[in-house]
């Protein structure tokens, strides 16, 4: 699909919505955590890894996908989830641990699952690599269309699962794309400190697959590279390592002071840049851009209201969903434990 004005406007809309999601969650996160910080306090407890700055990855890559395609994300899933079209109300409710959440409050922000749009995420580094490749294999066996994508960080590219999965993908020529989101940091460790090669996309040669690198953190460029990768996958030409330079503007997680980041490594916010570009290109007017911004903020406000208004799950629900369909003896143990 060509990079139409309509498509580019949708990129901006999605990026704005993703940012609205993170900003709303960040604001809520600090409730109950000041003056004394504690992961477990407040209405949004636990670790929170926000996507501020990575929105172009979500918008550009998801823009190149169809409904059959399958995605796994990592501990920083919001931008991919929002741009993929994961149910915003239920995702918000999940972050707050509510019964109406996508996982009925069992998962939290690192464990976002929405089968309706083939989206899954989890919190162990590089954990999503192999399952995504397996989803691609499943579709091949089912003779159904669909490309699988694993979204990981540049830090995850040094985990064994990265290597094992890409080698198998190469051998089987599976329709698989690993999106390496290079935001320069793995917690406090820079890519140069952790990675023996400048570009992970250069590792593609070691797996008999294609490598793509986009340096701009611009959704247009990301979309075009993703589209090439998706086309190869659909044509049976196998996998791609798609490495995208991006940004991490809100720290590793909430509470990270980022004192370790030197001035010259401060990263730019891609959203105002893209806004200016679209206006320069005559794709968007200031007024339209503002309208999109406020639409995003309103939509997110609605989602947050839904989440806040939703009830918490009952304590006893903790015993549900351990096994699908239950299991005789386990139910008994469950009953005992409940008693």
């Amino acid at each position: 699909m060509a990079l139409t004005a309509e498509l580019r406007r949708s990129f901006y809309e999605k990026m704005a919505l993703s940012r609205a999601f993170d900003d709303a969650m960040i604001a809520l996160y600090w409730e109950g955590k000041l003056p004394i910080f504690s992961f477990g306090a407040g209405p949004l407890p636990g670790e929170l890894h926000c996507s501020n700055g990575a929105e172009p990855v979500g918008a550009g890559v998801c823009g190149a996908l169809g409904p059959d395609d399958m995605l796994t994300a990592d501990h920083r899933p919001h931008h991919v989830a929002v741009c993929r079209g994961v149910d915003l109300d239920r995702m918000s409710a999940e972050l707050l641990g509510k019964k109406t959440g996508l996982s009925q409050g069992k998962g939290g922000h690192m464990h976002i699952y929405d089968p309706a749009v083939n989206f899954a995420s989890s919190g162990i580094i590089a954990e999503g690599m192999a399952p995504a490749a397996g989803m691609a294999l499943a579709r091949r066996l089912q003779k159904r269309p669909g490309v699988a994508l694993a979204f990981i960080g540049e830090g995850a590219a040094n985990q064994g699962a990265f290597h094992e999965t890409l080698n198998i993908v190469g051998v089987m020529k599976l329709p698989f794309i690993v999106v390496v989101q290079d935001n320069e940091w793995g917690v406090s460790t820079s890519k140069a400190e952790s990675t023996a090669v400048e570009r992970n996309s250069d590792r593609a040669a070691g797996y008999g697959m294609a490598g793509e690198f986009v340096a701009t953190n611009d959704p247009d460029d990301i979309y075009l590279a993703a589209e090439r990768a998706v086309a190869r996958a659909r044509n049976g030409e196998g996998g791609t390592i798609l490495e995208l330079k991006t940004a991490r503007l809100a720290g590793h997680f909430m509470g990270d002071q980022q004192g370790y980041i030197p001035e010259q490594m401060k990263q730019a916010d891609p959203i105002p840049l893209y806004r200016a570009k679209l206006i320069r290109d005559g794709v968007l007017s200031e007024a339209e851009a503002d309208a999109m911004q406020s639409a995003a903020t309103e939509r997110m406000a609605k989602a947050m209201q839904f989440a806040k208004d939703s009830p918490y799950p009952d304590a006893a629900e903790a015993f549900d969903h351990v096994f699908a369909g239950g299991s005789g003896a386990f139910d008994q143990h469950k009953a005992e434990a409940r008693a």
């Binding site: 996982s103 009925q104 069992k106 699952y113 690599m129 397996g134 094992e164 003896a329």
Partner: protein, 335 residues
């Protein structure tokens, strides 16, 4: 009709029957296309089902077991051959955090139906990295079912059950019980009359292999057969031992264990896994947390001690829970 089969052939029959009828099942593992899996469970499947459904993988356990989990989430039911349980160290995260927890973490939105075949145990001088049981290590994971047939009848019935389960099932078989060519003559008590027709054996029920009134001996996998040997010895001495096969670790049939001990009042727990923090302690705790007064004597554990498995025969044979040690423990119970 029915015939006497080994566990290996019986298991193969179940998998073959299900694969013939279902498109969602496919097999993954090292060398399975040419070798049919460590226990021959997929023997001849390469030729019969082709390389699409019988996939020989690289030596990348995190890769292909993780892929199996993803394929399961996408509607398939993969059957994976991991060969030896000693290798779980290189793929443990898939078992611990992905396959077992995704259904829960998704609030039931995502199912992960997959069956992982693993061989356990030693006794054939394969040393510390190829002789472990480690069944407690996988049974401690919430969200994974763990079953452990010890004879051909259960191997077929429990594999049918596993293949029809919507969950992650870890299907353990002790290498010495399977009746495969590289382990010598099959152990008689592992063979059974196996019906041609498919049938299921439910998870979570102990099997009383041999009724007895004086002492309960629990076992799993190979230690069931050593317990039966011991029971024969004991019978000659007039000691009536009841041999209980746990068969399933998750779910564990605590009622079944308690019922037998309540009857005999004496308990010997056998286990080829390491002593501490494992199955042997769990079995004893399950009994006494209900009622310690049913015990006429302190229960005795006959297990592999907390040491790596030594290579040399005299050392390995002395540390395994073999019939001699089991019978001695039962005698102590009667003393």
């Amino acid at each position: 009709m029915s015939r006497i089969l080994t566990m290996s052939r019986a298991g193969r029959e179940a998998l073959d029957w299900e694969m013939e009828r279902r498109d969602d099942i496919f097999c993954l593992g090292e060398d399975i296309y040419k070798f049919g899996g460590i226990f021959g469970t997929m023997d001849g499947f390469g030729a019969k089902y082709g390389p699409e459904r019988v996939i020989s993988t690289p030596i990348s356990e995190t890769g292909f077991i993780g892929m199996a989990a993803g394929a399961a989430m996408a509607g398939m039911h993969p059957v994976i051959d991991l060969a030896y349980i000693d290798f779980i160290g290189v793929c443990y995260n898939v078992l611990l955090n992905t396959a077992s927890k995704t259904h829960y973490m998704s609030g039931g939105a995502v199912k992960v139906p997959m069956t992982l075949l693993i061989g356990t145990g030693g006794g054939y001088n394969n040393a510390a990295q190829h002789s472990q049981c480690l069944h407690a290590t996988v049974a401690h994971i919430p969200g994974a079912k763990v079953v452990y047939p010890s004879n051909a009848h259960d191997a077929k019935g429990m594999l049918h059950t596993a293949l029809r389960d919507e969950n992650f099932v870890i299907f353990l078989t002790h290498k010495g019980t399977a009746g495969v060519g590289w382990m010598g003559t099959p152990i008689k008590t592992t063979l059974s009359e196996v019906p041609d027709e498919p049938y299921t054996v439910p998870f979570g029920q102990v099997k009383v292999y041999r009724e007895g009134s004086d002492v309960t001996i629990t076992g799993l996998g190979m230690s069931v057969h050593e317990s039966l040997k011991a029971a024969d010895e004991l019978a000659k001495e007039g000691i009536s031992a009841e041999v209980v096969d746990l068969r399933s670790l998750v779910p564990l049939d605590r009622d079944g264990i308690f019922a037998s001990v309540a009857k005999t009042g004496r308990l010997v727990v056998t286990d080829e896994d390491y002593l501490s923090y494992g199955v042997s302690g769990e079995v004893i705790a399950s009994v006494v947390e209900r009622d310690p007064t049913i015990l006429k004597k302190p229960p005795i554990r006959v297990t592999t001690p907390d040491i790596p498995i030594p290579f040399a025969r005299p050392m390995e044979q002395s540390i395994l829970p073999l019939a001699g040690r089991i019978a001695d423990a039962a005698r102590k119970q009667m003393a």
